[in-house]
């Protein structure tokens, strides 16, 4: 049985179990911390860095999705510095890929687009890279457009942790990182993919989509996830 600890988030007294993360305790107390890679029901990886927070006494910023709470901790989630860094992260995501909202299947339902609105971005300060990336339309029912991929790895994790297929993975490093299926072979030829579509539903952007959807028609439904994760934990006796 884990201990209960008390701490302060944005000056507000809150309490949580010591095995919980700052993000979990913040959410339980109605405090919003922006995220893109985190999704309830999947393991947390701290990839997007949007959930960075300040902790008094710690000089560097900590990703709240993978940082546990502790007794007496003082957390700040909304400083001017954090806002600036969050805007910078989202600008980098936009400039790194080819995110053309106006013609995207997820226009109006996209977590990246919504994040830009939330952070009040009206343009992207970093020069656009305009990378050349090929669409994979080989799967019968789904498509992958890596131009819209932000490498959050939700698809990798849901496929591995929930479906148990581990079709997706990330290849390469740094700016050359890319999402691949199986051994970098066409998705439609995958021997592991069960065509369950969970990856499509958890994808925050239009990178993974259901074929036949036109502009702004692709709405995602990741709400199945906490239930599946809970049932799995129950089965495993944890």
């Amino acid at each position: 049985m884990s201990r209960v600890v008390t701490l302060k988030i944005n000056g507000q007294d809150v309490s949580g179990r010591e095995d919980e993360t700052i993000l979990q305790v913040a959410r339980e107390n109605g405090i919003d911390i922006p995220v893109l890679c985190y999704l309830e029901g999947l393991s947390a990886v701290g990839a997007c860095r949007l959930c960075l927070v300040e902790v008094t006494g710690v000089s560097r910023l900590l990703p709240s999705c993978v940082t546990r709470v502790s007794e007496g901790m003082e957390v700040n989630t909304e400083s001017e510095r954090l806002q600036r860094y969050r805007r910078m992260i989202v600008e980098l995501l936009f400039s790194e890929g080819n995110h053309i909202c106006s013609v995207c299947v997820s226009n109006g339902h996209c977590e990246l687009q919504n994040m830009a609105i939330k952070l009040r971005l009206d343009h992207i300060g970093m020069p656009y890279r305009f990378p050349v990336r090929q669409v994979d339309a080989s799967h019968a029912r789904y498509g992958l457009d890596p131009n819209r991929c932000i490498l959050c790895t939700r698809c990798v994790r849901v496929c591995d942790e929930i479906e148990g297929a581990h079709t997706w993975d990330i290849m390469g490093r740094g700016i050359n990182s890319q999402l691949i299926s199986d051994m970098h072979t066409p998705w439609g030829e995958s021997e592991t993919c069960t065509s369950c579509g969970k990856c499509v539903q958890v994808c925050p952007t239009g990178a993974l989509f259901v074929k036949g959807k036109s502009v702004a028609e692709m709405t995602k439904r990741p709400d199945f996830l906490p239930y599946l994760a809970m049932m799995r934990n129950r089965k495993n006796g944890s």
Binding site: F94, N98, I100, S102, N107, H123, I124, Y128, F130
Partner: protein
Amino acid sequence: MSKKKIATIWMDGCSGCHMSFLDLDHRLLDLADLIEIVHSPIVDHKEFPPDVDVTLVEGAVSSDEDYEKIVKVRARTKILVAMGDCAVSANVPAMRNRFTPKALQEAVYLAPNMARPQLPHEAVPTLLPRVRPVHEVVKVDVFVPGCPPSNDTLFYVLSELIHGRMPDLSNKTRFGA
């Protein structure tokens, strides 16, 4: 109060932002006492005047003509507004950035289904290697995302600027709106 001098220019875009601007409809008449449209694709005035208060820019910077135009317009404008996603982010025109201008022109003009396949050789501006959003070429003062920004959004922006205020566009428009 003297009338504010307003201009609009059209570079690499679909003219949808200008359509949205025209959609101001009767509100254009309301504004008529306050503004004078001194240069625009929708008025007959060839030269861009030297002292414009506000210029609305539709489209990305795509050709040598666009480049010369935007540099000149910037120098002659007090407040430069990037109107719509093409001006703000290069948007759909930037989809050609994965090809060289040569490969692009050959694919379009020398396509086998053309009646007389030939590359354009006069009266057509030379394409720049890459399409760029306006702010990567000249300083932009106001960004109005949207594809196109709604007529309400454009009316709000224009009204604020005419009255000497900077518009606050949060929650009014977005990329792809």
